[in-house]
Structure formats: C-alpha cells, structure tokens
Amino acid sequence: MGEDLKKDLFKDYGQKLFFPLVALFISLFAGGLLIAWLGENPYIAFRHLFQGALGSATNFGETLVYTTPLLLTGLSIALSFRCGLFNIGAEGQYIMGMMGAAWVGSIFTGLPAWLHIPLTMGAGILSGCLWGVVPGVFKAKYGAHEVILTIMMNYIALHFTGYLVNYILLAPPGYLPATRVINASAKLTRLLPPSRANTGFFVAIICLVMVYIFLWKTKWGFEIRAVGLNQEAARYAGINVTKNIVLAMALSGGLAGLAGALQVQGIQYRFNDLFAFTGYGFDGIAVSLLGNNHPAGIILSAFLFGSLNCGALQMQSVAGIPKDLIGIMQAVIVFFISADYLLRKKLEQPLGEEINVRRGSAGQEVAK
C-alpha cells in the first residue's frame, strides 16, 4: 500500500512537471531565436543571463530581491484561483501595500524594531486587503465580474498613490516625488551585502508554508477550495459562498500587499512615485500558473522568474539584449499553459460542473 502511494505520488509529480517544463523549454528556444534575429549569439547572451542571476553571491542575493515579491504575488493569485477567482488586481494591491508600509514606517518614531517591523508589514497587508476586499464584496454580493473590477482597482491604486505621494505624503523639501524614508526601526536586515537581499525573503517563505497549511489542512481552507471547485455543490453542502469569496479576496489582497510592504521595508525604504505599473502583480499571474497554483510550484517558478528578471539586467548591459525579451518568454510560457489540459480542468471544470448541477437541480425541481 505504501508502495502504491509512492507510485501515485511520483506519477502525479511527473504529470505536473511535464507541461511547465515543456513550456519553459519552448520559451527558452523562442528567446534564443529572437536573440539570433538581433544578430547576437544566443549562447553568449544566455551565459550573461545565467551569470547575472547566479554568477556570484551578490548576484544570487539580487536574484532573491527579484524573487521575493514574486513569491507573494504568485501566492496571492494562486489563492484566488483556488477559490475560482481571477485576481488580476495583485498589482494594485501590491502598490497599496507599498504605500501603507511607507506611511506607517515613517510616522512612528521611537518604536522598538520588534514592534515597528510587524506593524509596518501589517499596514501593507491591510492596505492590500482593502484593495482586494472591495472587488471581492462586489463579486460576492452582486455578481460583478472580478476580472474587470480588479483591473480598474489597479489603475485607481496607481493614480491614488500618485496623488498621496505628490501631495499628502510628499517628503520635504519636495524635490523628489517620494515619501519620507522609513525609520530604521521598520527596516529589514540585509543579507549578502552589497546585494539588497534581506530577511523579507524568509517572511515570504513562511507565508508560502502558512498558506499551504491553511488551504490544505484547515477547515477554512477546505471551504475556499470547495467553492473554487464547485460553487453550487459547496452551497448545497452548507458552505457560505459569499463569505468565502470575500475571505479569499481579502487574503489574496493581503499577500500582495505584504509583497509591497517587504519591498519598502527591505529595498526602497520609501514610496517613489511610480508613473507606471511595477509589473510584479502581473508577473505573479505567470508565476502562479507555471507553479500549478501550488505553493511548492510557486517557489520554483518565482525563483525562475526572479533569476530571469535579474539576469536580464546583465544581459542587457553587457550583451546588449533588450530585457523585454524576458517578458516575451514569460508570455510564451503563459500561452502554453493556457492550453494545458490539466490546468484547464482545474479552472474550467467547475464552470461546466456548475452548469450541470444547475441543470440537474432544475430537473429535480420539476420531478418534485
């Protein structure tokens, strides 16, 4: 029996890893073709990409810097997927999290670090939460589509924080559109200097473990997943669908908000006017999809995308390859995964089943 279980497990892993790996290789191949089209040597370009990401302790540290937010935005989107929602708003929630942390990190003075650090993270989480709950409530109560709502919330976050940083929270004397620098008591400890890697990475890893336990080992997590698998069946089973949708969006928003807080507390130390989206929220979609919407997969895919984004800087500066190449490769991966049958089952079977259940229940009513 133990042997059977082992066999099943490995078979399962093989299946789960197959599509992401094929997607990865195809995207690398496409990237190589584009580099050749530019008239450069793909081998040299990819060597710079690799060295830039992992070639030294400092580069590895910088890769962790790029990985940390992706771990959390990927996790945020995975959590929403598991409840059958598509939270495209991680970007806006991330931005709000940065702003919340920059504010709380700078207004309190004289606090001990053990209090100020979690307080600042909490502010980021709450800000992201708020930005997730609003579309969550509209979705759960009124059935408005969360995709459009969260996209709109992204733009509102971008311009709203733009207003805050230019007017209300502008650091004196106001030469730079940025908030005041947060106090030392809210800053995270740097690792591997001179890279900017910091303890925020461990916070993200702890969150991954906590979300795994929450989703697969607790009653609340089970309810969220049940709603994601089949809303109607969940409702029949007495699960409060409205509550779970709002909860999932709140948690999803909170995770993306925490990603923003860690960015401020560990890297930037302030909120700089953005002018455009950071991309971490959108990249989180690709991270989550490539990672099979599972915490273990997300560690791998976030590290992969973190390495690509970090290595691309060296590839651009030394080998002269535009770093936008990485974005094209990510898009190829998402294209490939969108057609993946396994994922499709996961995301859309609930829809199909829901319809069947509806038809079934209608039939029963007629029979009565």
Binding site: L34, W37, L38, F86, I88, F138, Y142, G143, A144, H145, V147, I148, L149, I151, M152, M153, Y155, I156, H159, F160, G162, Y163, N166, Y167, A276, F282, I285, A286, L289, P322, D324, L325, I326, G327, I328, Q330, A331, V332, V334, F335, I337, S338, A339, L343, R344, L347, E348, L351, G352, I355
Partner: protein, 312 residues
Amino acid sequence: MELAFAINIIAFVIASTFRAATPLIFASLGGVFSERSGVVNIGLEGIMLFGAFFGMLGSYFTHNPWFGVFLGVLVGGLIALIHAFLSVDLKANQVVSGVAINLLATSATAFLLQKVFHTTGQSSSVPKVKDWQIPFLKEIPFLGEAIGKLNPLVYLAVGLVFLSSYFLFKTTYGLRLRAVGENPEAAETVGISVRKIRYGSVVVSGFLGGLGGVYLSLGQMDLFREYMSAGKGFIALAATIAGKWNPKGAFLACILFGFAEAMEGQFQLLGMNIPKHFLHMLPYVLTILLILGLVGRSVAPAASGIPYEGRK
C-alpha cells in the same frame, strides 16, 4: 463675448470627447463581437498595443499613413487569431490566454521598438492620418464647429457603431453569431458551425482592436510610445459590459469615458485646482460605478467564457 467663449469651449469639449472616445469605441465594438459569440477577449488591450505599433511601423516604412492603418488592423487580426486558436480549438482558459496576449504585447512592442529604432521609450515621428473637413457637417450651426473637422477614423468609428448594430440585430449572420454565444449546442443542432462563427468573431474583434490602437499612434499622435494603450483596452471592455453587449450601448459608455477624459484638459484650462491624479482616476471609478449600477440588469451572453466542447 463671454457667450462666444462659452460656445467655443463647449464645441471644443464635444470634439475632444469624440477624439478621446474613438479608440475606446473601436475596441469596445471588438469586445461586443467577441463576447456575443461566446469568447471573452481580455487581450484587446494587447491587441490595441500591437495595432498602435504596427500602424506606426507601416506609416514609417511607406510614408503612407493609410498603409499603417491597414498593417495595424491586419496585425490586430493575426494576434486575435492566436486567441481564437487557443480558446476555440484548444479550449484554453480565455482569460489566461488574454493575459498572455497582454504580456506579449507590452514586451514584444518594446523589443521591436529597440530592434527597429535602436531606442527605448518612443519611436520617431511618422506621417499621421490627417483630419478631414466634412462640408455638410461643417455647415450645421454651432455643432459644425465641433464635429465638422475631425480625424477620418473618428467618423469611421461612429459609422461602425451603426453598421455593427445593423449586422448583429438585422442580418442572418448576426443572428447566428448571437445564437452561438447564447446556446452553442442549439446553434450547432440547426447546422451553424460554432467553430467558424467564433473564429470569425474573434478575428473581427482583433481587426477592431487593432484599429483602436492605430488611432492612438496615427490619429491622436504621430508616433508609437511604449505602453501607449495604457489600459484603454480594459476600459473598452468595461464599456462593452456597461453597454449590455450592444454596439449602441457600448458607444454611449465610450462617449461617457471620452467625456471624462476631455474634461481632464478643461479643468486645467479653466484654472480649477483639481490634482490631475483624481482626473486620471475618474474613468476607472466611473467604470466600477457603471458596472455596479447595471448589476442584475445586464446579463452576459450565456455561453460567454465557456469553451464549447461539442455536442454530447
């Protein structure tokens, strides 16, 4: 004197409203076609960006802006073809496929910009589509000032609204298209090819999205700027929903968004001290309010977003 000034401002606002609404009108008509046939097309944002880039490129290479328009529309359709293949044949998750198109558009256009112009940020200036003066519109008192001399693409957008409405609701093809979006099984039973109709509709939505993008680079401006679509594809999609998947309704929603954008400039002209950030936020807040206001009253095509698995 003051009256003349006020009339001038009103005429100017009307003209600006139409100009700002035009890219949204094209893309939201694209949304109507795609969603009416049962395919969600979140990739319209990226399709617009591709349209804007290749529109500029066509005009850059041939010095003929109309060739740019043609190229932008064509590429829009080609990108939509990918979406159609993924969502109709491979039965992919349509939102994920759309997200991939948007990711691709942002990076690919920036990449191509560097390949062709060896620069980042924006392209050099190219010949743009010039405004047309329409004699009989110009004659209309008061309104003539506002709508008598606009970009031909603006007139085209308004024309397409009525054409689309006629096509969807008065022709057999329109009826078939709507049938496929409402109940693909029933449509197939009476001999309509769900696959062909969905392919066609998604590609048409790509043409229209591309046209919206072309207007950005060759109508409003005379160059391509990285990420110049700036969320307009998403707003257009919201207009599709707010307009109840109806060309004329979507048109009105776009005019409302266009008006919000036109007022942005006016507030500043009139010296009102409203931070520009709030004005930038306005269309997005309006969208959410519109969608909430319509909840319960606007019903999506029943099969929208669901891949058709064939008759069971």
